[in-house]
């Protein structure tokens, strides 16, 4: 097929604005009569708390201090479960939970007011180890098991698979919680248009979903909310959950003035999700020829205090832990677990990034035992057109894995 535009390295259409510094990120929006908002966040991981805002309210230039009772609609949000509170009402579940939002005439005064709010914490036992959390002795969300998802895969006969294997390798791998570190910290501006439409400008990965979340928390129909998504300074999954959007909307509606908030880098680390750390227990078996016969895995994903995308991430881990290989006998159990750690959600690769840390090292260990090369063992088992995944899905089209393996290997002198 001959193309005119497809396949051409056309210069990016947003490039000109970006190289000239004219691209507008939310922090670059300045409006007349604008107020500034700052968030007070919990400093302890698990506690009941009370707030005394009286001193802070008296500071000149403080316009309003919002707490849970000021949320007009549902005091909740979340991409899967509505388990986040817009502002925590009486309990915090992690360090960094938002508990108050101060609006003042300047950023400096807002910061001063944050310091002046008195928070009394009554700390309760917290759980940070997901294995411990699975026992449900300490519950992160009242009346709810910490285990929020269990992915199960059963294919073939796992005992027979291992019985037929000439080599078996078993290990436990631990992956870490990490941060998106997009270069543009969260920022936003909200204002109300003449007809009452609430406008929120913020960098987000899904403006139409933010619109719904804002509307529900504000108790207004979705048509009354407009989300403007200006230039976004990187995302990588870290801008899928609500951060400051609802706080700003509340403040704009209450004050009738534009309200802006910009997170510091330190606050940004706490404000958005992280990558789920996973404990991956994995056992892989192959025959003398290097054909994979069995794979058994147990994955525990720590989602921290909130679910965010935990279920989908964990499912994705469970599905991808086989690696891109044909394996006749597979058993996988993957769990998503609440703890009092920072909450985890989407990050580039979404569960499929964690598991190859285990799977792909297993392949090399097997290869060494079998005295074949890492490239050879992969080629022997790689998906090709027509292969079936462990989920029973047929790969009908566009499966150039062997091509990828041989090209990469050749380029580095491994093949």
């Amino acid at each position: 097929m001959d193309f005119n535009v497809i396949g051409k390295s056309v210069i990016r259409v947003d490039g000109l604005a970006k190289v000239t510094g004219k691209a507008i990120y939310p922090q670059d929006i300045y409006m007349d009569n604008m107020l500034f908002g700052k968030t007070l966040r919990s400093s302890v991981p698990h506690a009941y708390f009370t707030l005394d805002t009286s001193k802070a309210e008296k500071i000149e230039g403080v316009v309003k201090i919002f707490t849970a009772k000021d949320v007009p609609g549902h005091n909740s949000h979340g991409v899967l479960f509505k388990d986040h509170e817009v502002l925590c009402e009486k309990k915090v579940r992690r360090i960094g939970d938002p508990i108050a939002f101060v609006v003042a005439v300047s950023e400096k005064i807002a910061a001063e007011a944050i310091e002046a709010i008195e928070v009394k914490y009554e700390e309760i036992p917290a759980v940070f180890d997901p294995v411990e959390a699975m026992k449900d002795e300490i519950k992160v969300h009242d009346g709810k098991s910490n285990i929020i998802y269990h992915y199960k895969l059963r294919k073939g006969n796992i005992e027979e698979g291992f019985a037929q294997s000439d080599v078996i390798v078993e290990n436990v791998y631990n992956t870490s919680m990490v941060e998106h570190a997009f270069l543009q910290p969260e920022a936003g501006v909200s204002y109300v248009e003449d007809d009452g439409t609430i406008v929120v400008c913020a960098a987000t990965q899904y403006p139409h979903f933010d619109q719904l979340e804002i509307a529900e928390a504000m108790g207004v129909p979705a048509e009354k909310v407009k989300v403007i998504n200006p230039a976004v300074g990187g995302a990588f999954g870290g801008r899928e959950d609500i951060t400051l959007q609802i706080h700003l909307a509340m403040a704009a509606v209450y004050t009738g003035r534009p309200v802006k908030a910009v997170y510091s880098r330190e606050e940004s680390f706490y404000a958005h999700s992280k990558r789920h750390p996973e404990i991956i227990k994995i056992k892989t078996g192959a025959n003398k020829e290097g054909k994979l016969l069995a794979l058994e895995a147990e994955i525990i994903a720590d989602t921290g205090a909130y679910a965010s995308w935990a279920i989908n991430v964990t499912r994705k881990s469970g599905i991808h832990v086989t690696g891109p290989y044909v394996i006749p006998n597979v058993k996988v159990d993957a769990y998503a677990v609440y703890t009092n750690n920072p909450f985890c959600g989407a990050m580039r690769g979404f569960g499929a990034t964690q598991v190859p840390i285990a799977t792909e090292q297993q392949m090399d260990i097997l290869a060494e035992k079998l005295n074949i090369s890492p490239v050879e063992i992969r080629l022997k088992n790689a998906f090709t057109k027509g292969s079936q995944t462990a989920n029973g899905q047929t790969l009908t089209d566009s499966v150039p894995l062997v091509d990828c393996i041989t090209k990469a290997a050749k380029a580095i002198g491994m093949f």
Partner: protein
Amino acid sequence: MKTISLKVNGKPYTVEVEEDMRLLDLLRDKLGFTGVKEGCAEGECGACSVIMDGNLVTSCLVMAFQADGKEIITIEGLQSEDGTLHPIQQAFLDEGAVQCGFCTPAMVLAAKALLDKNPNPTDEQIKEGISGNLCRCTGYAKIVSAVKKAAEYLNQGGK
């Protein structure tokens, strides 16, 4: 409050600044040069870099009053009035060195500070020249080739 005079992109300004105001805030909040970005406020990310008297500085670590009598160049000062891009800007576009763009204004300035002093840098020197500027999107490869290309354009008398 203190009154200072400085030049930004060739234009003189006399402004009142608070003692604790950073050059970054002066440029963004007071003078409207929002191409200067804040990414960390501790001199680590380089997104707030501007050129002050010929040297690349992180404007989050410079106090506004320290800019008294200085000449500052921000990204807004690079494009000609007729809209022609500076060769470095053009090279960033041509080489695909821009993604989210948040690091870009400062990267372009870092490249300028480097090329002003060293018109024919090696790859290693380019990497060093931009090493104070973090980019989370590009993995730097295309930025390095853009700076190389920019050197070419500049040595040919601009593109």
